[in-house]
Amino acid sequence: MGAVMAPEAARKPGIGYSLPRREDDRFIRGQGTFVADVTAPRMAHMAVLRSPLARARIRSINAARAFTLPGVLVVITGELLARRNLAWMPTLSGDVQSVLAVDEVRFQGQEVACVVAEDPYTAHDALQLIEVDYEPLPALVDPTEALSPDAPLVRADKPDNRCYEWETGDLEATDHAFQEAAHVTTLDTYYPRCHPAPLECCACFADVDPDEGRARIYLTSQAPHAHRTILAQLMGLPEQQVQIISPDIGGAFGNKVPLYPGYVVTVVASFLLRRPVRWIEDRTGNLLSTGFARDYRMHGELALDAGGRMIGLRVRLLSDHGAFFADAQPSKFRAGLFHIVTGSYDIPVAHISATGVYTNKAPGGVAYRCSFRVTEASYLIERLVTTAAYELGIDPAELRRRNFILPDQFPYRSATGFSYDSGDYRAALDLALEKAGYEELRKEQEEGRRKGRLVGVGMSSFTEVAGAGPSKDYDLIGIKMFDSAELAIGPTGKAILKLGVQSQGQGHETTFAQIVAHELGISPADVIVHHGDTDNSPYGLGTFGSRSTPTGGAATAVVCRRLVDKAKKIAAYLMEVDDDDVAWEPGRFYLRSAEDREVTIQEAAAAAYTNPPDGMEPGLDAVSYYDPPQLTFPFGTYVAAVEVNPETGEWKVLKFVAVDDCGVRINPMIVDGQIMGGLTEGYAIAAMQRIDFDAQGASSGSNFEDYLVPTAWETPRFELHEMVTPCPHHPLGAKGVGESPTVGSPAAFVNAVVDALVHLGVRNIDMPLTSDKVWEAIEDSRPRKAAG
């Protein structure tokens, strides 16, 4: 293993130590700084007018009455933007998106005009006074109709409503495997459209000085550097003049990766008014218009031989992207990292094909707490395997065991071309089943059935993929998906770390200080971490897809080691010996021949400024741009036991056991926190979160009364267990964790509910498993009385 672990004694308080978070102090006092808290003298306030219709031609917009309201400063329309060539903006997926609609609105909630006023109430009042003359047009709502010749056209520039066609794997070999198969299991399932809904909506504060050409922009951004590059190009500002600050962010989960029209118009408004302008999105705007997730129609076929060995997998996907292709997929992979669909199983051949279509819905398809499309892939394979087990009459755990990739097969090359780093899938399953008391649960299920109780046990032995990604394959809008760390150790031995990744609650100020502490053998209290301000951090792609630890964490370790190399030369100089005579352990250099002769890292740092060796550049700082050699593959098994009420279709979680292996854990407390939070979101997706549209394209989920997110009351209790299989190619052995629970858990819940009903003949219920759908599945399974 390439993982470097310090000896036990040196671990505290570096890696592996649950160091309390240094962020917490400001948050519990209400002293965090979120974008909505940023203010400035003469600040004006912006509000957004949105389309009530999913598709309509804009005949005219008359804003004259809005100006009659005292305090209204400017009304910005698409027409005004078009005159400055700003009516459209690029998306992170290489498409374009309307900033403010010019000719036609294409989804309900689309941005049509913005008012800027002296105070927010006036801005909102003025919205009511803008008269928009809409000519309603038939909306394209159902993606399965998108490709039919008489479907309404969402975009004139996309003549067949087609966003992309994409495929991977070996079609011929896969077809052949299916011909050989003793059994084929088929599953058609819909992973519903849901929304990451971080508690903080989007916001922007822009202060543009047109004379200086300088723009200071506070943004709810997961990717401040990428946003700087795009905004600079779009606005025609030199990039060095654009400062993006992503301060404290109130959760993001993928929602704050895309660039949004509201951001652009805020910047334009500040430019026009020569005043600071702030826009705070409301929840309705957030749920109606910003990056939704999933919305994947999946057809999966699993081929098995007579011994229950998986021999082939075939998947067909239909992806609904809404009106603009605005996910943040790596350019090469239109279906993201869906390749992971072979999961934890040794399936020799596979083929995946995907069609993306445009519809009259909000754009998105963002990676909601998962690496691009990994959640959908993991859900499909875990549901397929479970369904196959029922069809073959094999216990779902046993069928998994028969097909797992074995520890000695790593590095394992999957049928879709991924190189898995490390894993022990069977150990994770066995541990989870043991902790859950699988045998007893099955007995309880058996006895329950005799008494009319519906108990189900579901599992999900997921493998996910994180840490995008190696530059040969991964980029966003052409920018390679490396990430960066800049470290300076000053004359007093204190360290300043600047990161290209950004935090939205992950606790980077703590964990990254721990990495430096671990590498250098200094106290984390001697490290300060800066991130989120593009003027004060090296370029990076930001935090999403569980990439911070795999990329930024690796960059931090690498930059530390670079400084240690330099400091070693200084230490040798101070001890008046050759470099080779000096050895390093965290905290100190010592003479190999006389181990008590030492130079501490602090002494070496001081000398870098006060007494550097002849010919050596003074100072002790460096920057690392880490290009990961491979992706990382966290894994685990989740086991859920549920009880379904046969009368109402309601279900409750009796037990949930999670075994997670994310490689080396930097701060176990933070890792567990990420898992708890992710499991809660996974449960929410499985149980309640859904955004539907009516035939006119009106959304059913535009607030927290309709789009349900769990509270403390609904959230099940989760029992967590850990395994550690280090990542062999990551300098710290870490794999990343933020998303495993959201990726792996929905299938566990659904498998459990279906398991409770499987003896009734139920094989599938699509998420969310609301009581009405579960009840209907039970009703449908009852023998029907003859009609009449």
Binding site: D24, G30, D37, Y121, L199, G250, M676, F704, W713, T715
Partner: protein, 192 residues
């Protein structure tokens, strides 16, 4: 309309539009930005404050409805750096991640412990069911409230608002920072 009320133990007066929401009054006029806004439907609880000791959603009240009453925001809980036991519990139990829900959660928890010093887990979960957290999964929040309940039963409940300031002034020991509760429009005072 002219209103006078108490905010974090300080008397304040203001002329406000009748429709001005309490949360906007606190955030925009008094610059007490610890109180957050997470929804438009009084569902999320990010804006929770104490109104005469009772947890209320400040986005669901007009500021004029607070006239003559005492409001406590998160800034009023630790006026001299002495954390309220619930704040301590949140820190101790890692009950926050992004921190956006935290002020509301802390205040809702204080209101619970004031009326029920020894709540069961279910009582805690029920009492906090008007407050959404998207990050933590709630388990650590529940633990934090239990931690605070234990501590408060051992040492007596911590005062809030004016009481907190008086208590802090009376207490010897370190005083970090100024009075968070007394900034901006209602006249920043040094609190000492």
């Amino acid at each position: 309309m002219h209103i006078s009320l108490g905010v974090n133990g300080q008397p304040v007066e203001a002329d406000v539009e009748p429709r001005l929401l309490l949360v906007h009054y606190l955030r925009d006029l008094l610059r007490l930005t610890g109180t957050q806004i997470g929804c438009d439907t009084t569902t999320c609880g990010a804006c929770t404050v104490l109104l005469d000791g009772m947890a209320v959603k400040s986005c669901g009240l007009f500021s004029v409805q607070a006239a003559g009453r005492e409001i406590t925001t998160v800034e009023g809980l630790a006026p001299h750096g002495h954390l309220n036991p619930v704040q301590e519990g949140f820190k101790e139990c890692f009950a926050l991640q992004c921190g956006f829900c935290t002020p509301g959660m802390v205040l809702a928890s204080i209101a619970l412990l004031t009326s029920n010093p020894d709540p069961t887990e279910d009582e805690i979960r029920w009492a906090l069911s008007g407050n959404i957290c998207r990050c933590t999964g709630y388990a650590n929040i529940v633990r934090a409230v239990q931690w605070a309940a234990d501590k408060m039963r051992a040492t007596g409940p911590a005062p809030t608002g004016m009481g907190a300031i008086l208590a802090a002034n009376a207490a010897p020991g370190p005083s970090q920072g100024g009075s968070h509760g007394a900034q901006g429009a209602h006249g920043g005072r040094d609190g000492a």
